[in-house]
């Protein structure tokens, strides 16, 4: 069986077998999907270490770039700036494709027994692009900038749990108010890129320790990077001489650029065309199951959604398989009304899957005693790709159960400020987080700013905090399982599907690593891949 599996992983790497087929056949050999996936990831890692080719130019066509972008890591929120960050800067630690912590600017780290005090030993002999030596002070300043009350950093929420930070010799010390076994995952956040003097003077200068230096910065058009010849980890990153990130927001423009060979890779292949595009001779469509999910969210404290029977009726009325088939075209998996899936560490596989059931939906709808007035679901095209179609499918299947769902189209413009987290029932998406604690703290803790379902349960908060400081993995897993089921059965979250990351990669690209953390190999494809015909 081992040989067979090994042969099959090879086939996937060569592109003669898709990942989906592999998981299917591996299951036939008695291997669970999670194991099969990690085997693939390991194989992909091994493939990535097969003799990189130095030189050449790699071009990335990416959506999510605007002329308003800056190189300040604190303000980074979309894909093109994220790609830029990965070229120019590095963080203390990163989350690797297997969900483990990979040391970058930190050489090693250790925690006290109660997970309250953490010491990160900072690597020596690393230079910023301006020739200055990277020191623990720079790390401290960076973290201070992002945790400053006046900060505009997207990582401010993450930094809140930190009570004190200091430098001790070669170490950067973090002291927490409440123990957190997942701190390194939090510090792997992409906003927390180490900058000289913490980026206090000029945060958008593009000076970091990353494998590439800034050559061209035309926001909304293109960004060019030259290899950093002083890079400390040149064996593993920074193989090409020059990288270019082209902003191609239009999906058709992206696929056309890939097909005509003007770029080597693109992100966000439209699921509608992915299967067709995959047939083109010179490229491969890569999809990887991630933690991102598309959701319909109801405020559990607002009528009529304050009635759990009504929420359950809606949860049973949604047809998950149909959504994955028609909205994601198979590039995704069905959800279970909790924000956690098998891509997370400590996921409990035994939680039963909620099935589409018109009878149960009718039953709960009757029990809710709803007066039959239309239930308004707000949706915009930009809520997630295919959101309006998904809402229509939801409306139809709800109608079959006698639930009067009414769709209200909202403009994309202003959706995130006026509708999401404000209106009681709307469509939205989440990108997922590397660990369960972070996902729950971001959106399900009573005090969380983005508690977009108004989920406020003291017992839930307590479980979250106890799991956070718990170092016994079995106990932790059990608590997370309970929390997941609580949201699944009582929460305002209707989660029909987890979306895959779908990228298009030309066949002349080597070193592609399947990474469930984000698209384009966690946006590190540019720094980890090489061009074969360089």
């Amino acid at each position: 069986m081992d040989d067979q599996l090994k042969h099959m992983t090879g086939q996937v790497a060569k592109g003669t077998m898709t990942r989906r087929e592999f998981v299917g056949r591996a299951a036939a050999l008695g291997v669970t999907a999670a194991v099969a996936n990690s085997m693939l990831a390991n194989h992909a890692q091994a493939a990535a270490h097969e003799a990189p080719i130095r030189g050449g130019t790699l071009k990335i066509g990416s959506s999510g770039g605007e002329s308003t972008n800056t190189l300040d890591p604190a303000l980074t929120a979309s894909e093109v700036p994220l790609n830029n960050l990965r070229h120019l800067y590095e963080s203390l630690v990163e989350v690797d494709p297997n969900g483990e912590i990979e040391n970058r600017m930190a050489e090693s780290y250790e925690a006290s027994a109660d997970a309250k005090t953490w010491a990160f030993k900072i690597r020596k002999g690393i230079q910023f692009h301006n020739g200055k030596e990277m020191t623990p002070e720079d790390v401290l300043k960076t973290m201070q900038r992002h945790s400053d009350e006046n900060s505009q950093s997207g990582a401010l929420g993450i930094m809140r749990g930190i009570e004190n930070m200091k430098v001790d010799g070669d170490n950067f010390i973090v002291e927490l108010g409440v123990g957190n076994a997942d701190l390194p995952y939090l510090l792997a956040d992409y906003h927390l890129m180490i900058q000289p003097d913490g980026g206090m003077d000029n945060p958008g200068a593009g000076i970091g320790t990353g494998p590439y230096t800034l050559e061209v910065d035309e926001p909304g058009v293109r960004h060019g990077f030259k290899r950093n010849e002083n890079y400390w980890d040149a064996d593993n990153r920074g193989h090409t001489d020059y990288n270019e990130v082209l902003v191609l927001n239009d999906a058709t423009a992206r696929t056309a650029a890939l097909q005509s060979g003007q770029v080597n890779m693109i992100n966000r292949v439209d699921p509608k065309v992915a299967a067709l595009l995959d047939r083109a001779p010179n490229l491969t469509v890569k999809s990887v199951a991630g933690r991102g999910h598309y959701v319909f969210i109801a405020h559990v404290d607002t009528a009529p959604f304050d009635n759990n029977d009504l929420r359950l009726a809606l949860k049973y009325a949604i047809n998950r398989e149909e959504m994955v088939d028609k909205i994601l075209r198979g590039y995704g998996t069905i959800g279970n009304d909790m924000p956690i899936n098998a891509s997370y560490p400590l996921f409990d596989e035994s939680i039963p899957q909620r099935e589409h059931s018109i009878e149960k939906a009718k039953e709960h709808y009757a029990a809710s005693g709803h007066d039959g007035s239309p239930i308004i679901l707000r949706v915009a095209d930009g809520a997630f790709p295919g959101a309006v179609d998904a809402a229509s499918l939801f409306q139809e299947s709800a109608k079959a159960a006698g639930i009067p769902l009414e769709i209200k189209r909202e403009p994309n413009d202003g959706y995130w400020s006026e509708v999401w987290n404000k209106q009681p029932f709307c469509a939205s998406y989440w990108g997922g987080r590397p660990v369960q604690d972070q996902m729950y703290s971001t959106a399900y803790l009573s005090t969380a700013d983005w508690n977009d379902t108004r989920w406020k349960r003291p017992e839930f908060d307590e479980m979250l905090l106890s799991a956070r400081a718990e170092l016994d993995e079995a106990k932790r897993k059990e608590t997370y399982s309970k929390m997941g089921q609580m949201i699944r059965d009582e929460g305002g979250l209707i989660l029909p599907m987890f979306n895959d990351f779908v990228d298009g990669v030309a066949n002349n690209v080597g070193g592609w690593v399947e990474d469930p953390n984000a698209e384009l190999s966690n946006n590190k494809a540019g720094i980890k891949c090489w061009v074969k015909d360089a």
């Binding site: 800056t70 950093s153 058709t252």
Partner: protein, 318 residues
């Protein structure tokens, strides 16, 4: 003062007044947009503290009147301010984008205007015969198809199948003129197809109108060839409406091509404006709006003046 100089001065003053009115509209329009710049910059993952801090820093707590006059004062001194979102100098980044937009518009116009007028003359010459019908049918088809669709069709054939020209039209200053023209070849084709019909039909209609006049009949009776009649007698008298429609299309080429820019990832003004509208970067939106308004007003001014100069009756008002 000569009546023409007076007329032009009047028109210019009127244009400026219009521009001032437009600046108020732009300012009011940008103020009533839902959402705010801080939320848009920080995105879905913004915390309330970060939002409040950014809002304060951006001066969004000042009253609207104060902000309007501060802005207008700056504009009059040539200072468009800095972008709220990335802190760049607006005049500088806008200048580059405007140059690109004008570059694309220039080449599209350089090809489409003579072509449209020539086809219009040809259609008149062969009125109601097959060349006329063919020209009308083809140009009306291309104007009826949405421009992004024409773009996609041309990309499929010209860029992917035949590999003649690139589908991504990103240009920059370090490229030679030849390389730039190569990059914008497909967008220029698209724009030409889009604006051709309007100008061609107007040329045809205007000249046909003139062709029914008595003096054309006289020219015919005197034995002049058809093309010569059109060129020497009909065209000069039809110039006013043609210039009008040409100017309208030129204005479109400058301010209305955002869809084409998106399809070809062309770094022009349209995309720049849309990006900043969606981020509520008000100073940039205002600057773009003002430039677009100026282009529209300016080109229409030219059209007006040209039609006055071309028409003796208007040139010598009683």
């Amino acid at each position: 003062m000569h009546p023409i100089v007076k007329l032009i001065a009047q028109r210019l003053a009127l244009g400026l007044l219009l521009l001032f009115a437009a600046s108020i509209l732009i300012f009011v329009g940008t103020s009533i947009l839902p959402g705010d710049v801080a939320q848009s910059i920080l995105g879905q993952s913004a915390t309330p503290e970060a939002l409040a801090n950014l809002r304060r820093e951006l001066g969004m707590n000042d009253p609207a009147m104060t902000r309007y006059f501060a802005w207008l004062g700056g504009v009059l001194q040539g200072d468009l301010g800095t972008a709220l979102t990335n802190g760049r100098d607006i005049a500088e980044s806008l200048g580059g984008r405007l140059k690109n937009t004008l570059f694309l518009a220039f080449w599209a116009a350089a090809i489409s205007v003579p072509l449209a007028i020539f086809l219009g003359l040809l259609a008149v010459r062969y009125k109601d015969r097959w060349p006329d019908k063919l020209i009308s049918a083809v140009t009306l088809t291309t104007i009826s198809i949405p421009e992004f669709m024409i773009g996609y069709v041309l990309i499929y054939w010209v860029a992917i199948k035949w590999r003649l020209f690139p589908s991504v039209a990103i240009i920059n200053d370090s490229m030679s003129l030849g390389a730039k023209l190569n990059a914008i070849a497909i967008p220029v084709m698209v724009l030409t197809l889009v604006v051709l019909a309007h100008m061609m039909r107007m040329t045809r209609a205007a000249i046909l109108n003139v062709m029914q006049s008595a003096y054309i009949e006289t020219a015919e009776l005197k034995g002049l060839g058809m093309l010569k009649i059109i060129r020497k007698h009909a065209f000069p008298n039809a110039i006013a409406p043609i210039v009008n429609v040409v100017m309208l299309n030129l204005a479109y080429l400058v301010v209305g091509v955002v869809v084409v820019e998106v399809v070809f990832a062309y770094p022009g003004m349209g995309q720049y404006l849309v990006d900043h509208v969606s981020k509520r970067d008000v100073p940039v939106v205002q600057a773009c709006g003002l430039i677009f308004a100026a282009v529209y007003i300016g080109l229409n001014l030219v059209a007006d003046i040209v039609s006055i100069l071309a028409n003796p009756r208007l040139r010598h008002p009683k």
